[in-house]
């Protein structure tokens, strides 16, 4: 009985009782003829934002953190940036919705001039990433227990080859993915609500692929009606909203599939969840 009670009461102790001590860390670097910029971010907890830099710098970052529990990391060498916020080994751990999580903030502004690859990893974080307008080559986003909003507010200017998302227990929204102009999107989701919004400007890209693997959760695809969409579905105890599609063979096609200027091939593997389509 005591053990049971302790288990029930454990989550209460995860909330810190003491006042936190928020400190600041900032770093910046000017452009110096870089041909490639690789950004590696590991962010333990808090709110993380990425935006396009408007000052001519290669990157600028500013981190507000709780020095009692976390420490900032920033290292740049030869076009490779490693930056982020890590838990102190002595007092690490993950708090769900704790003050650290809501008050710690990391902002990263990246130059739109240099071809950039992102490798982003979050722990218990809320991420608001606007990768629009960047010279994007590749992006990999891995989240743990997080709420992430990835937006491409304006079309990217680079040649994006691959966009990868690995989402754990999370709420994940990717908006205006067409502006990313990536040839391939790969999504792996654990549990949670996921929205993949394919609106935006395709910029003449003839076709794109989306490889989506969903565990237990809800997936909403936001698709423009002008887009030709082919869906290949493998599901187990999952529902699929087939409105707007016609079935040919084992696949689903939009009526405009043969005539559409831009085509999207979607391969969905889903278990224990809903797959909904929101036509725009």
């Amino acid at each position: 009985m005591k053990g049971g009670l302790l288990v029930l009461m454990l989550p209460l102790f995860a909330f810190p009782l003491a006042a936190q001590s928020l400190r600041t860390f900032s770093a910046a670097r000017q452009r110096a003829g870089e041909r490639q910029f690789n950004v590696d971010v590991e962010f333990a907890a808090g709110t993380f934002r990425i935006n396009r830099d408007a000052t001519g710098a290669l990157y600028r970052t500013r981190i507000t953190y709780n020095e009692e529990r976390y420490h900032p990391v920033s290292d740049y060498a030869a076009g490779n940036l490693v930056v982020g916020l890590k838990a102190n080994s002595r007092r690490g751990g993950v708090d769900v919705d704790s003050p650290e999580k809501t008050h710690q903030v990391m902002e990263l502004n990246v130059s739109p001039e240099v071809p950039t690859s992102f490798d982003l990893r979050f722990g218990a974080a809320q991420a608001v990433l606007d990768l629009g307008g960047l010279n994007l080559v590749r992006a990999s986003v891995k989240t743990g227990a997080s709420e992430s909003h990835v937006t491409f507010s304006t079309p990217t200017v680079g040649r994006c080859e691959h966009l990868g998302f690995q989402v754990g227990a999370a709420e994940f929204h990717a908006e205006q993915l067409a502006n990313a102009r990536c040839r391939a999107l790969e999504f792996q989701g654990g549990v949670g609500d996921v929205t993949l919004d394919y609106t935006g400007d395709w910029g003449g890209a003839p076709e794109s692929t989306a490889d989506i693997t969903m565990g237990m959760g809800s997936l909403t695809l936001v698709l423009p009606r002008s887009l030709g969409v082919e869906v290949e579905m493998t599901r187990f105890l999952s529902s699929f909203d087939q409105s707007g599609f016609e079935k040919r063979g084992g696949r689903f096609y939009t009526a405009n599939w043969d005539s559409a200027k831009v085509k999207l091939h979607v391969d969905i593997k889903a278990a224990l969840g809903d797959v909904k389509v929101d036509w725009r």
Binding site: M1, G4, L5, L8, P11, L12, A14, F15, L22, R23, T24, F25, S26, A27, A28, R29, Q30, A32, T47, R52, D53, A54, T55, G56, A57, L58, R62, T64, E67, P72, S74, Y76, A77, V96, D97, P99, T102, H103, V105, N109, S111, P112, Q126, G133, A145, S146, E147, H149, T154, A169, E171, V191, G192, D193, M216, G217, S218, L272, G273, D274
Partner: protein
């Protein structure tokens, strides 16, 4: 009050002529080397500024624990919390949104009044380290770049005076440095409301579950204290006639509102009773609530009772008062059905399934408890419960546990 004064006219060279720095001080970079990046780290323990140069060399200036470290080497000492440290922290706090060129301009214009002794020497060491500091030329900003406008940075003193704005800029910078220093002392958290994660409700849900457990436990202990026999009879009725109790509760539920309506109509017909209708309605609602809650607690006790009797039959010793213990165990067991929902309720699909499972289970137990309350006439009639239970207190009945649940089933003694 001593605080940093950033003046437009003095240059770093002028500062250097005032006094020569300590021999141990790290000198600034060679003339050809340009700063291409910087890092500012302001924490309670340290306040550091690091420049990265185009030849991959670095210059770090750190104030920590009363020591000034230039590239990790002690170059002087200062008074912790004194004017130099306050001014340095204020400068860094202000500069954390600047570009590298802006930071260089800022530190070159940095001046602190009223320094003496070790603070003065330390300031001179810093100034010496910054002697040849020069920023790499800033590339033109992209035309199409959008977003927030870049922060205003300290302008060149010559330019400002040529434009006749020197005095205004001095005031602006002084004010902003003072603001920044205040910010550095107490970094205010970002209070912008954030979207909550889907699993953010786990903590409140678990806390709510614990709250329900504590509240029901308190009510149960009250019942044990003030109506122990009634509780035991209702509990015995649940245990001995669970199916009958469940159906009694099931059939009673749709009759609750008609019964209330009949009560009201009856009171109206008596004319005199019209006056007591509000009291009667409140009393009826309270009686039904007491019947449901009391029945649920009695069901919990029956469950705990069953579990503990089995444990004791296996030879385990129960040290605490068995009546209280059976209630705690039973309530824990009944509420445990809510634990999966509290922890995983945010998960799509699984969340609603867990919720409905918990609701149905709780409804079944509450219905059985309510039915047992009705069958036993709120614990006054023991014909559906354990025979003899009404005559014994909870403590005494436990002394005969071996008779109720024999520890050796092979002995052939039957369970009554």
């Amino acid at each position: 009050m001593l605080f940093a004064k950033v003046l437009a006219l003095p240059t770093a060279a002028a500062l250097l002529t005032a006094s020569s720095p300590p021999a141990s001080a790290v000198q600034g970079p060679a003339q050809a080397v340009q700063a291409v990046g910087h890092t500012i780290d302001v924490s309670r323990r340290r306040a550091s500024l690091r420049f990265d140069f185009s030849d991959d060399s670095r210059l770090s200036i750190m104030l920590a624990g009363g020591r000034i470290l230039l590239n990790g080497t002690e170059a002087g000492r200062y008074q912790p919390g004194g004017p130099l440290e306050r001014a340095w922290r204020g400068l860094l706090a202000q500069a954390d949104t600047f570009s590298t060129a802006g930071v260089i301009r800022g530190v070159k214009l940095w001046k602190v009044d009223g320094l003496a002794g070790p603070d003065l020497s330390a300031k001179q060491a810093i100034a010496a380290a910054l002697t040849n500091l020069k920023a790499a030329p800033t590339p033109p900003a992209p035309v199409a770049a959008a977003g927030a406008p870049p922060p205003q940075e300290p302008v060149s003193p010559g330019d400002s005076f040529r434009e006749g704005l020197g005095e205004k800029i001095k005031k602006d910078i002084r004010r902003s440095v003072e603001d920044a220093r205040r910010r550095a002392e107490d970094v205010s958290p970002d209070l912008t409301p954030r979207p909550r994660a889907a699993f953010a409700g786990v903590g409140p849900a678990v806390a709510g579950l614990l709250g329900a457990f504590v509240a029901l436990g308190c009510i149960a202990f009250g019942l044990v204290s003030f109506a122990p026999r009634q509780l035991e009879i209702v509990s015995g009725t649940v245990q001995q006639s669970f199916v009958r109790s469940f159906f009694a509760g099931l059939f009673a539920q749709p009759l609750i509102l008609p019964a209330l309506a009949m009560l009201i109509v009856g009171l109206i017909l008596t004319v005199v009773g019209i006056l007591v209708i509000p009291v009667a309605v409140i009393g009826f609602v309270l009686a039904v609530a007491a019947g449901v809650v009391g029945g649920y607690i009695a069901a919990a006790r029956a469950l705990g009772d069953l579990y503990l009797r089995r444990k004791m039959a296996q030879g385990d010793v129960v040290t605490a008062d068995p009546t209280y213990r059976s209630i705690v165990v039973g309530l824990g067991a009944l509420l445990a059905i809510w634990t999966p929902f509290a922890l995983l309720g945010w998960v799509p699909v699984a969340g609603p399934i867990l919720l409905w499972t918990a609701i149905i289970f709780t409804w079944v137990m509450a219905t059985a408890g309510f039915g047992a309350t009705i069958l036993s006439r709120a614990g006054l009639r023991s014909s559906f419960g354990r025979h003899g239970a009404a005559e014994l207190s909870g403590e005494l009945s436990w002394s005969t546990v071996d008779e109720i649940a024999p520890s050796r089933p092979s002995s052939g003694r039957s369970v009554p």
